[in-house]
């Protein structure tokens, strides 16, 4: 009897060791642009289901992570990218840097959030959506009326009161520009930006700064993204988050496996998990719009009609025309001191 128990026990131990050895004890190097405060939570939630896979985060802003990945094109250091702009991932896809893989349950996601190739090379997590942050106190002092559309922002009354990110250095700035070009057409888009340029106080390097500056009253109207505005509002800023009536641009945070990773099984496990309902519920704490339909609960201070206003974004257009758009933008607007 005792003998049996020992045998069973040792067998069990042997099994679990074997299972441990085969299934993982893997370490994954994961590149991300998710805000710092979210990362620890993401890793611990993931480890509740997969304690054998350790995540080593490499975190930076979107521009820097993209630059880093492209620079490492010939000797990738990352195993997985978890939480980087889809436009950036498309650049990597066109360099052949991403491993095509259809994660388990990918059919449950909103098709908008999945790469069009079969099998897809990336899957979306959540969307960050453009919005206008409007400081009611300072606008009142300056005697402004709240704008309701993008077109309103070109009115002369807002001259010098609008601030937006420079698309050359900010992903948010680029999604604005690409959305205007998609909504108003090539010609109309540039014409719109000519009008807007006349009202812009200056262009910032980062996408969240316009909203923070609006929150601080430095410039009353900041073109930024909704999530940032909701956060500043929660912090007590006299902000109103305006969703322009024409529709708003957006980009998503997405996940992909880097081709050539030595930890392909662990990477697949992570990507499988990253599209589960549970993971999407986790993204929902920061983002109002997530890839898994029906998961999202409203986020405090978040504009209610935002989801309907999201344009049908053509990511391929954005990625493939990015270099040309940025070049054109730079030659038209990248110096406020330029005499007209």
């Amino acid at each position: 009897m005792i003998k049996h128990t020992i045998k069973a026990l040792s067998l069990g131990v042997a099994f679990s060791i074997a299972a441990y050895a085969s299934a993982g004890a893997a370490e994954l190097t994961v590149y991300t642009a998710v805000e710092a405060e979210g990362l620890a939570r993401y890793a611990s939630e993931f480890n509740k289901d997969h304690p054998d896979i350790k995540i080593n985060w490499v975190r930076d802003s979107t521009g820097i992570v993209t630059a880093k990945l492209l620079a490492e094109k010939d000797s990738p250091q990352a195993d997985v990218v978890w939480g980087l702009a889809a436009t950036s991932l498309l650049l990597m896809k066109s360099e052949g840097m991403l491993e095509a893989y259809a994660p388990k349950g990918v059919e449950n996601l909103d098709p908008k959030f999945v790469d069009k190739s079969t099998p897809p090379t990336w899957t979306g997590m959540d969307a960050w959506v453009a919005s206008v942050c409007y400081n009611t106190v300072e606008a009142g002092k300056a005697g402004l009326t709240p704008p309701t559309s993008w077109a309103d922002l070109t009115k002369p009354e807002y001259a010098g009161h609008v601030i937006m990110p420079n698309p050359n250095s900010s992903g948010t700035g680029f999604l604005d520009v690409s959305s205007w070009l998609q909504m108003f057409g090539e010609e109309g888009g540039w014409k719109y930006m000519d009008g807007l340029h006349a009202n812009i106080a200056r262009y910032t390097h980062s996408g969240s700064k316009p909203c923070k500056l609006a929150a601080a009253g430095e410039i009353p109207i900041g073109v930024s993204f909704a999530f940032r505005g909701a956060k500043s509002k929660a912090a007590g800023a006299p902000l109103e988050i305006i969703v322009p009536s024409e529709g708003v641009g957006w980009d998503m945070e997405a996940t992909a496996i880097i081709a050539g990773t030595a930890n392909i099984d662990a990477a697949k496990t992570l990507v499988d998990w990253s599209i589960t309902k549970k993971a999407n519920a986790m993204y929902n704490t920061g983002y109002a719009v997530v890839a898994y339909p029906g998961v999202a609960k409203p986020v405090e201070h978040f504009p209610a009609n935002l989801t309907e206003k999201m344009i049908d974004n053509d990511f391929e257009f954005a990625a493939n025309n990015r270099a040309a758009i940025l070049k054109e933008w730079q030659s038209c607007y990248d110096s406020k001191s330029e005499p007209k």
């Binding site: 805000e35 710092a36 405060e37 985060w57 490499v58 930076d60 521009g63 820097i64 993209t66 630059a67 620079a71 490492e72 010939d74 000797s75 498309l90 650049l91 896809k93 066109s94 360099e95 052949g96 069009k116 190739s117 106190v137 420079n166 050359n168 250095s169 900010s170 106080a201 200056r202 262009y203 910032t204 390097h205 980062s206 969240s208 700064k209 316009p210 909203c211 923070k212 500056l213 601080a216 009253g217 430095e218 410039i219 007590g236 800023a237 006299p238 391929e316 990625a319 493939n320 025309n321 990015r322 270099a323 940025l326 730079q330 030659s331 990248d334 110096s335 406020k336 001191s337 330029e338």
Partner: protein, 671 residues
């Protein structure tokens, strides 16, 4: 007769002293540190230069098409893209120049193209190196791929790499980029004139008046050295921004732009200019003033004929140092430059914003030219200055003059208020809960871990970097300087080493950082493993600040008679015994100065390390930049002030330690 015998004598071999083992070891050390400088400086710069010539263009000879008729039937006729382009003139030569991320639409080759038409297309590469995209799908190879019209409009060509001058051509034909050259030169010149004038007045007051509180003024004037250059930018926003405390002073002008950059530049370059000019004024000869008085020259005339000529080398040197600091600085224009583009910021925008490394390298090369030029002139001037103070000179002693002293005091107070004001505003802003709506005090802005930028870990990393830089930097620099100063012969090697040691000062931090990416992030480089670690930050920082440290060490070592070496050699003592027992203790004040210089600069540097830090090695100075960038301006000010306090503590410890150690090791100087 005797003349004849002399001519008959053969010339004989040149006498060459035999090299002892010590000489060989010392040459070995020189070679080692020279190799260090080559790896840490010359090779990365070379990598950057070659990157600026790495170009991309669309090679139309690489692609071929077939077009079907309306029924979708192909005739089999193959058309090369090159021929199509010549026919249609779709793209001019400028359009075929690309960046590494460039894409070229193929539909432009077909004027009759419509995505609704039933015409079908085929595309292939004529060589295996041709790359094109269908949508975002990457295609290579020489197989025909057939698509319908709607799909065909999604096809774009990718450029191929080559070398040439086209990056420079693109640069100089982009007005917004070229304008930065003018902006940078203009701002640097204006800042230089203002800073040098102000600093001269300050130094003059310190040297030539009997005003009170000179020590306090000197201390305050040095404070800007202890903070990152972007901190004054943050203070100026709080003072003169749209919600600023003194906004009305700006009279409707915006602080974001040239005004802000100049004001901030004056703040952070002031101590550098003041130090150089103080030194220049300190060595003037009292006898010249006595002569002027005897000749009944007016004070005004004396000032222009004695004081200014005596300090001219100092003034010129200060001008070029300030010019160089301003034109290579990146943090300040980034924080307060608004839409006013400067060269150093352009590098950052190209690399971080657009991932256009090649163009970043081009701007770096452009920035190198004025920096090198200013540096060259400065070195030339400094060499001339040596023989000003002769042995018979009498040191000038100011005499009390109530009116003049009060005037000096008032002037210095104004400058001191400006400097202290900037720091106080930063500290105040850091403690305010939510400027300008909630002015209650709180420590919320110190919760760095809740903000992007690296959190408190970044602060700890910075201290670690500063300590490591001070330790290893001092060892490398002092050993190098010793070997170069005290080695006999070996002229070429020493000259080459001197050149390498002077070079870092001419290299802007941004350029060095970018060069490090190109060199160390190359997977074929055996040193690739240090990329992203603390080691590369230490290496970069030591190299960036090598020159001044080297000069300090060399000056101290020059003061030691070479007889020490002769004596120790004749006593058959190996050189390292002399080095450890005599040279190091005698030069201890200089060694301590080098280490504190490296410490302070490692705490405040932004430009070189902004490209090199990784998530595990974020730094406090970079965190200031990134938090400001994200709009967390108050926490950025808080972190900047943490750097200031840390440097103040370090300097205090340094002062106390020097005092104790110097009493211990320099007792021989007093009898």
């Amino acid at each position: 007769m005797s003349v004849a015998t002399q001519t008959e004598l053969p010339a004989g071999k040149a006498i060459k002293p035999k090299l002892g083992s010590d000489d060989w070891i010392m040459r070995g050390f020189i070679a080692m540190i020279a190799v260090y400088l080559v790896i840490a400086l010359a090779l990365p710069l070379y990598a950057m230069l070659s990157k600026s010539f790495a170009t991309y263009h669309y090679d139309l000879t690489q692609f071929e098409f077939q077009v079907s008729d309306e029924a979708g039937k192909f005739s089999g006729e193959v058309i090369a893209a090159q021929a199509l382009n010549e026919q249609t003139g779709a793209y001019g030569p400028d359009d075929l120049v690309a960046g590494s991320n460039g894409r070229l639409k193929v539909t432009a080759f077909f004027p009759k193209f419509s995505f609704r038409s039933p015409v079908r297309y085929k595309i292939r590469g004529s060589s295996s190196s041709a790359v094109y995209l269908i949508g975002s799908e990457r295609q290579t190879g020489t197989n025909w791929v057939e698509t319908d019209s709607n799909m065909f409009r999604r096809i774009v060509l990718r450029p191929i790499a080559s070398t040439g001058f086209s990056n420079f051509r693109t640069y100089f034909s982009t007005p917004s980029l070229v304008r930065s050259i003018n902006n940078s030169l203009l701002i640097s010149t204006i800042s230089t004139i203002i800073t040098v004038t102000l600093a001269f007045g300050f130094a003059y007051a310190l040297a030539r008046s009997c005003m009170r509180f000179k020590g306090v003024f000197r201390l305050l004037a040095m404070a800007p050295i202890l903070v990152p250059s972007l901190l004054p930018g943050i203070a100026l926003v709080y003072l003169f921004g749209n919600q600023g405390m003194l906004k009305s002073v700006m009279m409707g002008e915006s602080i974001y732009g040239p005004y802000g950059i100049v004001a901030g530049s004056v703040f952070f370059t002031f101590p550098h200019a003041m130090l150089i000019i103080t030194t220049a004024l300190a060595i003037s000869d009292a006898r010249l003033y006595e002569a002027a008085v005897t000749l009944r020259a007016s004070a005004w005339k004396t000032f222009w004929t004695v004081t200014i000529p005596g300090a001219r080398y100092g003034l010129i040197s200060a001008s070029f140092v300030v010019f160089n600091l301003v034109i290579t600085d990146f943090g300040l224009p980034k924080v307060i430059g608004g839409q006013y583009n400067m060269l150093a910021v352009d590098i950052y925008k190209q690399v971080i914003g657009q991932q256009n490394f090649e163009m970043g390298a081009v701007v770096s090369v452009v920035l190198l030219i004025p920096a090198m030029f200013a540096f060259g002139i400065d070195r030339f001037i400094q060499r001339k200055q040596v023989a000003l103070l002769s042995a018979r000179s009498v040191v000038y002693e100011p005499k009390p003059d109530k009116r003049f002293d009060w005037l000096c005091f008032a002037y210095c107070s104004l400058i001191a208020i400006f400097i202290a004001g900037i720091l106080i505003v930063c500290q105040y802003a850091a403690l305010i809960k939510f400027w300008p709506y909630d002015l209650s005090l709180s420590l919320n802005n110190y919760a760095f871990d809740l903000m992007d930028g690296g959190g408190w870990a970044a602060y700890r990393n910075s201290i670690k970097l500063a300590l490591l830089t001070a330790l290893f930097g001092t060892i490398v620099v002092f050993t190098g300087a010793y070997m170069v100063e005290k080695t006999q012969g070996f002229k070429t090697g020493r000259t080459l080493f001197q050149f390498l040691a002077m070079l870092p000062m001419a290299i802007p931090g941004m350029v060095l950082g970018l060069a490090y990416i190109f060199f160390f992030n190359n997977p074929d480089n055996p040193l690739h493993t240090i990329y992203g670690t603390m080691a590369i930050l230490v290496l970069c920082t030591v190299t960036h600040f090598y020159t001044v440290s080297h000069l300090t060490a060399a000056t101290a070592l020059k003061q030691m008679d070479n007889e020490f070496e002769s004596v120790s050699a004749s006593l058959k003592q190996p050189f390292y015994k002399l080095f450890v027992r005599v040279s190091v203790p005698v030069c201890l004040p200089a060694i301590l100065d080098i280490s504190i210089y490296l410490f302070v600069n490692a705490m405040t540097t932004v430009s070189a390390v902004v490209f090199l830090y990784s998530s595990g090695t974020a730094l406090a100075s970079v965190a200031v930049l990134n938090m400001d960038d994200a709009g967390d301006v108050a926490p950025a000010a808080a972190m900047g002030m943490m750097i200031f306090y840390t440097n103040v503590i370090a300097r205090t410890i340094h002062a106390l330690a020097s005092k104790g150690l110097i009493r211990h090791t320099q007792a021989w100087r007093t009898r």
